[in-house]
């Protein structure tokens, strides 16, 4: 609760600063504000309470995931100064909307009521529609926002309709109530409830960009300003997966057999299509879009294989994925700044003049591939272990196959940077920017070497 309030206050504060014309205050305020929000979130550890008739639930899982989301946003904001360096117009609106989007995503990790879930998703989505189009002059940005808005609002209808059906059958929006209803009625479940369930799956699958509801993602990611794409690929993705995780394993765990097969197929499709299509992408940004699709497929394993340890596994995966992806986006911003585009040809010969950036991007991509001993490997390994424990052998084998395919695209920028000759320009990264990238890389390595930091938490 304190998280949501503090973040909302932070957003308003930025707007006030904008009114006062204190442009230079924005970033310091945000960074400090996010740290305060992080501290407030962590103070809810072991509290296990709920607010407003169980509408918001603060348990350790929601605290941990909210903390990851806030921390990731913090990491992304560290790039903002550089990214918006040359922009003259006031940025208070973008920053504030980004913070409001974060509020939405935090709600999605701690809902105890379907209405809060919907509110969270909408707060997030509406903020994102605006953010996707925030580069007003660029036609791609306009395309992104239009596509995202049209499809997103349409799919929000599915979500709402699903919630309505479930409410109609079970008589409650409260997750615990619904759970009790499913236990009671598991033997003769109303078809309406099933229909509501599948509409919910479709709505959430769209937000997560699960195949076959993923078609918007690459275009929107490509058109959205890169810094905000990083936010979409990490914070938004994780919040939506966590929402799915909470919804199905707290609300509908008694009727697993009704949704298990569907999610199984969606997970396999997401992993295979995401990875296979990733190979054919011409630039890093689209590649990262497909990478994020396939990683949401892996994270679906955690939703399916619910056990005492899956929340841990998801937490580690979310952290490993976010850190590596944010690093990749950090380098992407630099390359786009220097070259004007991010085709793989732009990465040619990059390692010669920019060894640090090249190594950081390499480690991030290796982590995403799942090469030990980096964080990505540990996360994947732990996730596969929890899935195998539940007997999802074929799912794990297909996921592993997906990982093997993913080498095909994750190594493309690496090959370009190290093995091809290019014009060898120097990337313009300030000291702070460089330090931040190095910090992220160290985080990737440390998380891989000491995964116990996260996996014993929940």
């Amino acid at each position: 609760m304190s998280t949501i309030i503090s973040l909302s206050v932070l957003g308003v504060l930025i707007l006030v600063e904008g009114l006062l014309g204190k442009k230079t205050w924005h970033l310091p305020t945000i960074l400090v504000g996010l740290l305060v929000a992080l501290a407030l979130t962590l103070s809810g550890w072991n509290l296990n309470t709920h607010y407003y008739n169980e509408m918001l639930i603060v348990d350790n899982a929601s605290v941990a995931f909210s903390a990851i989301l806030i921390f990731t946003t913090f990491l992304i904001f560290m790039f903002a100064g550089h990214y918006y360096k040359s922009v003259q117009r006031p940025l208070d609106d973008i920053y504030a909307i980004l913070i409001f989007a974060l509020v939405g995503s935090v709600m999605m990790t701690s809902f105890g009521n379907l209405i809060i879930l919907f509110l969270g998703i909408e707060t997030l989505s509406i903020a994102l529609y605006v953010l996707a189009g925030s580069h007003k002059e660029a036609i791609t940005s306009n395309e992104a926002t239009l596509k995202y808005f049209l499809m997103g609002s349409f799919l929000s209808g599915f979500l709402l309709f699903g919630i309505a059906l479930i409410y109609g059958v079970s008589g409650s929006l409260n997750l615990d109530e619904i759970s009790r209803y499913t236990v009671r009625e598991a033997a003769h479940l109303s078809p309406m409830f099933r229909a509501g369930l599948f509409l919910l799956i479709i709505g959430l699958a769209f937000k997560i960009a699960i195949v076959p509801f993923h078609f918007w993602a690459p275009d929107v990611y490509e058109g959205t300003p890169t810094l905000l794409t990083a936010f979409m690929a990490t914070v938004v993705k994780i919040a939506s997966i966590v929402a799915l995780f909470r919804l199905f394993n707290h609300g509908f765990s008694a009727i697993r057999e009704t949704w298990e097969t569907t999610l199984w197929i969606l997970a396999v499709l997401t992993i295979l299509v995401g990875n296979l299509t990733g190979i054919y992408q011409p630039n890093l940004k689209r590649m990262l879009a497909y990478s994020s699709i396939s990683h949401s497929g892996y994270m679906m394993l955690a939703v399916l294989a619910f056990s005492a340890r899956t929340a841990d596994a998801l937490l580690l995966y979310a952290a490993a994925y976010s850190v590596a992806t944010v690093t990749a986006f950090g380098i992407l911003i630099l390359v786009r700044g220097a070259k004007g585009n991010d085709f793989f040809t732009s990465f040619e010969g990059l390692a010669k003049k920019n060894p640090v950036e090249a190594i950081c991007l390499t480690i991030a991509l290796l982590s995403l591939t799942g090469i030990p001993p980096l964080a990505g490997f540990m996360a994947k390994y732990y996730l596969f272990t929890t899935a195998l424990e539940k007997g999802y052998l074929w799912l794990v084998i297909l996921a592993v196959l997906g990982s093997a395919i993913s080498v095909g695209y994750y190594f493309k920028p690496i090959v370009s940077m190290y093995l091809r000759n290019g014009d060898g320009i120097k990337l313009e990264a300030g000291f702070a920017y460089k330090t931040h990238i190095i910090f992220l890389t160290v985080l990737t390595v440390v998380l891989g070497l000491l995964p116990s930091v996260l996996i014993n938490l929940l």
Binding site: R309, D312, L366, I371, P372, P373, F377, Y381, Y382, F384, T385, L388, E389, L393, V396, I397, V400, L401, S403, A404, V407, G408, F411, V415, Y418, L419, R420, P451, S452, I455, N456
Partner: protein, 482 residues
């Protein structure tokens, strides 16, 4: 404790190397690191053979929730390979020093990083730790071959990467699957993996996954297609690391994991693995006969020799396994020696094509002498190291099946043919134009040969020491199978 030092030392030197700039200093530091590592491993051997084995154990808790620990332990199978690694790495560094590799800090740093990974693979006593080091070895190997390789390196090293990465991922699934079959509390410790309860059907699947990973690495026919290309395109030092040490990870894995974990599957499918291995021997030998590029020829010879080692392992006899351990060491030494010779010839004549080289012996008698000794070791002449290993291997295969042994024995004849033919065409006869300016090897270039020749003769004449090292461990593995 010693094992810990063996793993950390190359890592520290590698990190140090990455931070250095001065080329001369880099080479000195790299060599110092590798030699220091060798000395530590020799001291470890001294402790191992005189005192208890406790010095060579290391067990640090790591991920308690999963009972994964950094558990290292060397026994009679892994110790020869650890020694092989620490013995060859300084020689590889020494022989690479004359090449003006760009970015030497990264080159030598990656070599030492690879050394660390190799030691980790050979000494890990925990399935997950084994896997981590196994994969860790791949990344520096990829970069060494890809950054400093020949013209077609991008495509070929990528093939190498995809092949080996895919194979090992299935091993990961098999390992996790095994984990849940180990007695409670589940653990990745090798003892626990050995004790896993598996039905025959499960064993078949585990067998298949492990076999795929190891067969690609060794490589066993028909999974070998990445190998000749990768060897040809890699820089000399990279080829030596791959051929001398990395391939042994595969055969080591067969002995360490495949045999004790799925004995039933081996009884059912072992014959197929045996046939594949023997087919590879003949196939690679015949192709080697037709090669004009010396590096490619040796690459195919390596497939044949490694095929024989694999066949000896699948024979499941103590002779075959002991032979495999000895031959892994011998083959590592010999093939590294051969690649050093080839790189020296290439340096002198500017080519590796056999048809463009002739009569080098008149101008470079010492090179020809070392070449001859290493070559004889490679084709398994009595009193050289190759003989001991191949004899034991064939003996083991003979106990398994006479006919297969007869076919596998062809490798010795064919090996002698293509090797001696290569020698005859390059070293003997009249020097060709362009070859006549080639001088003999300098003292500095000769240094790597001296330890290699000593080892070839030592193992060849007094194999007892190494056999005694391997014997109890081999017996343990065989006992586990019953």
């Amino acid at each position: 404790m010693i094992t810990g030092i063996l793993i950390v030392l190359p890592l520290l030197f590698s990190l140090l190397l990455f931070s250095l700039r001065d080329e001369k200093l880099i080479k000195q530091v790299a060599l110092t690191g590798a030699v220091a590592e060798f000395l530590v491993s020799v001291y470890g051997l001294f402790l191992y053979s005189t005192q208890c084995h406790c010095q060579l154990l290391l067990n640090i808790g790591w991920i308690e929730t999963l009972h994964v620990s950094l558990n290292f332990r060397v026994d009679g199978i892994s110790f020869p390979l650890v020694l092989l690694t620490t013995f060859l790495t300084p020689l590889i560094i020494l022989s690479s020093m004359d090449h003006p590799y760009r970015k030497p800090s990264a080159f030598y740093g990656l070599i030492l990083l690879m050394e660390m990974a190799f030691i980790g693979v050979f000494s890990a006593y925990d399935g997950l730790v084994f896997y981590i080091f196994w994969e860790l070895a791949l990344i520096p190997a990829y970069f060494i071959c890809a950054v400093w390789g020949g013209n077609d390196r991008i495509r070929i090293t990528f093939k190498f990467l995809i092949y080996t990465f895919t194979g090992s991922l299935f091993m990961l699934v098999a390992l996790i699957y095994l984990y849940f079959r180990t007695p409670a509390p589940h653990s990745f410790e090798i003892i626990a993996l050995y004790a896993a309860h598996l039905s025959p059907a499960e064993q078949n699947w585990i067998f298949l996954s492990f076999f795929l990973a190891f067969a690609i690495k060794i490589p066993i026919f028909p999974f070998h297609t990445w190998q000749p290309d990768t060897y040809t395109e890699s820089p000399a030092g990279g080829t030596m690391l791959l051929a001398g040490i990395m391939l042994k990870m595969g055969t080591y894995g067969l002995i360490r994991f495949l045999l004790p974990i799925c004995p039933l599957a081996l009884k059912e499918w072992g014959w197929l693995a045996m046939i594949l291995a023997v087919t590879g021997i003949i196939y690679a030998s015949i192709i080697a006969l037709r090669q004009n590029d010396m590096k490619r020829l040796v690459a195919y010879s390596s497939i044949a020799h490694m095929g024989l080692i694999a066949a000896g392992i699948f024979a499941l006899t103590s002779k075959g396994l002991e032979g495999a351990v000895i031959q892994m060491v011998s083959h590592g030494i010999n093939i590294t020696g051969l690649f050093i010779v080839i790189s020296l010839i290439e340096k002198r004549t500017g080519t590796r094509e056999i048809s463009k080289i002739s009569g080098l012996a008149t101008k470079a008698p010492w090179l020809a002498l070392f070449f001859m000794i290493i070559l004889l070791g490679n084709i398994g002449l009595p009193l050289t190291n190759g003989f001991v290993g191949e004899f034991l291997l064939l003996f083991g295969i003979f106990e398994y099946n006479h006919w297969i042994a007869a076919v596998a024995g062809l490798t010795i004849i064919l090996g002698a043919v293509y090797m001696l033919w290569m020698y005859q065409r390059t070293m003997l006869g009249q020097p060709l134009e362009g070859n006549d300016t080639a001088g003999d090897i300098t003292l500095k270039e000769a240094i790597p040969f001296i330890p290699i020749v000593i080892m070839i003769l030592w193992i060849g004449i007094f194999p007892g020491f190494f056999l005694k090292l391997a014997e109890p461990a081999v017996q343990t593995i065989l006992n586990l199978m019953h």
